[in-house]
Amino acid sequence: MSRRAHQQISVTKLALLLAGVGFLGVGGFWLYRLMGGQYRTVETLDPESYYENANNLKGNTYRVEGWIGNSLGWNPGKGRLFSIVTQSQNKDYVLPIFVPHDLQTINIQKKQKYMVKVMVNDQGILSVLEMTKP
């Protein structure tokens, strides 16, 4: 009798199960993305505040997501400086980010979208701690 019962899991049920798992996965991913992905625990930078007075944000760590603009400069011993265009309240803001020498292995190109974890350094510059493509 118990053996008959075990054989009663139908294909339909299995398909629904897999669809449910897939739905959960996609939803989770969507939710993951929605929540900030990898640095979802890090506060998103408010560009207006930065524009207003970057010195007030010194030492803070923020998450910035945007498209790489122009390379502003490069010091082989120190790092690279880029502009990144981020959006906030449907407005584009251009921000400078400093990519230290430690992250020289990352190939950064114009118009690439990055999720960046930055810290406002003692110069008021957004210094990249980590960055990844979203």
Binding site: Y50, A54, G73, N75, K78, G79, L95, P96, V120
Partner: protein, 691 residues
Amino acid sequence: MKGCLFSASLVLGLAFSALCPLFAQTESSREGDSKAATGGARPPQMNPGFLGRDIPVFDPGSDVAGFDGKIWNVNNNRLLRARFEKYLNAPEETGEADLKYDATVDRILFLLSPGNPKGPQVEEAWKLLPSASQYESDANLCIALSDAVYNVWLAKNEVGKIEMANRALLKEKSALEWNYRLSLEPETTLGTTNNPSGSSDEKKEAREAKIEPLKEQLSEVKTTLANNRLRKEASILQAKIDFQTLLVQFFAQRRFQHVLIGTRFYRTLFGDGDNRLLALDQIASSLPVDKDAGQARVRAKFNPKIAGRGGSEAGAGGGVGYDRKESGSGGGAGADARSSGAAFAMEGLDFGVENLGVESLVGAGASGLKALGKMVNSLSQLDALANEAIRDVNEGIKAYQFLLEQNELKSATERLFETFAMGEYLPSVRKLPRSEKRRALEFTRKTNELLAALEVNDLTRAEELIRDLGKNAKDFDTSKPLAVVETAKTVSAMHLAKAKAAATSGDRSALESELRSAMEIWPRNPALAEVSGAIFNQTDLQQQALNDFDRLFAQKNYRQIFEDKLRFIAATTLYPERQEKLRKVLDQIQLAESALLRATELAKRGDPAGAWESVERGFQEFPDDPKLNQARAEFTTRAAEFVRSIRTAQELERKQQLGSSLSWYLRAQQEYPNSDIAKEGVGRLSEVILR
């Protein structure tokens, strides 16, 4: 004496004018500052000459004498000119009285003439003399002649009286001689027995007592006779000399008709055939000659030492000295002229007048009169000279009238002057119509004016006169005076041009020197006042412009400086420091203007941000420029966002908020990608960040 002095000065002048050509090379090479500078256009008083101005020089070619910087025509001294002009202005003497006077003189001459059929009528002629002297033209000379004739007659009366006295004395002498002879005969004849007791000594004494008074009386009579003879001779001689003196005086006064009348009277009054002219010797003897004073002498010694040498130098020396010890004055001159290349040097002229004084001049005058007395030693010569002079004067008047007809005023005036100088009182001269004389007067006045104009270097007036004279006088050669005037004008213009150049270059010393030279050559040059006025006005304007520039520069009103840039460029030419300031101002304003121009163009193309940026760049250089300020304000409103980004970026950069500043620059660049200010800001801050 005057004649002697004139002769001496003439000889002096001639001697120097003859010597001058010898030094032509010397003079021309040494007078670089005068003759060479003026092209010889300066009148002689401006050219000192190699002997300086201390020694008189006479130019026989032009009858011009120069001394001590002055020139004058020897025919044109004030006294002669005044007399000549008086004559030229006087009416012709053809009135009734003048005609009567001439008729009287002619009548007197006829009465005294040997050709008079009745023989010389002395008394008739003598009676006419007082009536002739009543006329003004005679100047009472006939009265003087009448008195002289009367004196001769008185002298002759005196001689007659002396002769009468002598006749009485001769009778008395005969009586005394008879008595004397009787007194010497023996006493026996007259009965000396009346005193038989007398000794021989007593007899002798008695006889001598009788003879002695007779001897004394006889001696007195003889002496008186001799004295009377001498008195007679002396009286006649004195009368002759007085008469001759009067005639010589008439001759010297050029009263030739009176000379003729006088000589005819003389011949009649002194019919002894003795026509010797004693007056000149007599006058010479009467002069107070001091034989110890010696004679004045002209000393001229020429011992040239000529040498050639190389090099380039010029020098000269001259001097005049007075030796009090030797009572003489002398002049010495040495000339050393060297030109560059082949040099030439010469010296060794010694000239002076020795023993010049009143006594020596009186002695010279006496010697001259004696010499003249030897040349003119008879009244016949005086008479002939007077006749010749009258003929010459009459001929001169005819020549004048002919030349006048030919419109040859120069020659005509010269002939009339010569004629007037010789025969001023002769009828032919006095009767010349005033209308004919006026033309000579006009010419004379103009030539005198020309001389005066040339002496004061009034070249404009001189040129006018020369042209006027050339037009009216066919024989007046205008080429030489015109050449002098034109050359002087050219030289003056050259000096003025140099003065202008000196004024432009700021060489004040050269400016003054050139202006002075131009003024010396042509003091009344109209361009002189114009140029000097322009130079001085220019100086005033320049100073005013400099003051304005300094004020505006201190106020940083560069825009106003730029607006008046032409004025300030001209004014600061001579001042390098101000010139440098002006250059910076103009460069800056030029940049501002370029910025404004570019802004205008960009604004026209719908690029207010670019326009603002262009103006902003100019504004950073010249924040006080009103034009830039105005444009900046205008474009700020038209590109407000971009301007706000840039200004915020700049403000934050100033506050060392590098991140924010850079962000604003990036934002500005995003708003206006061509922004140079944003680009520079980004680059500048990036460099700081990456340093």
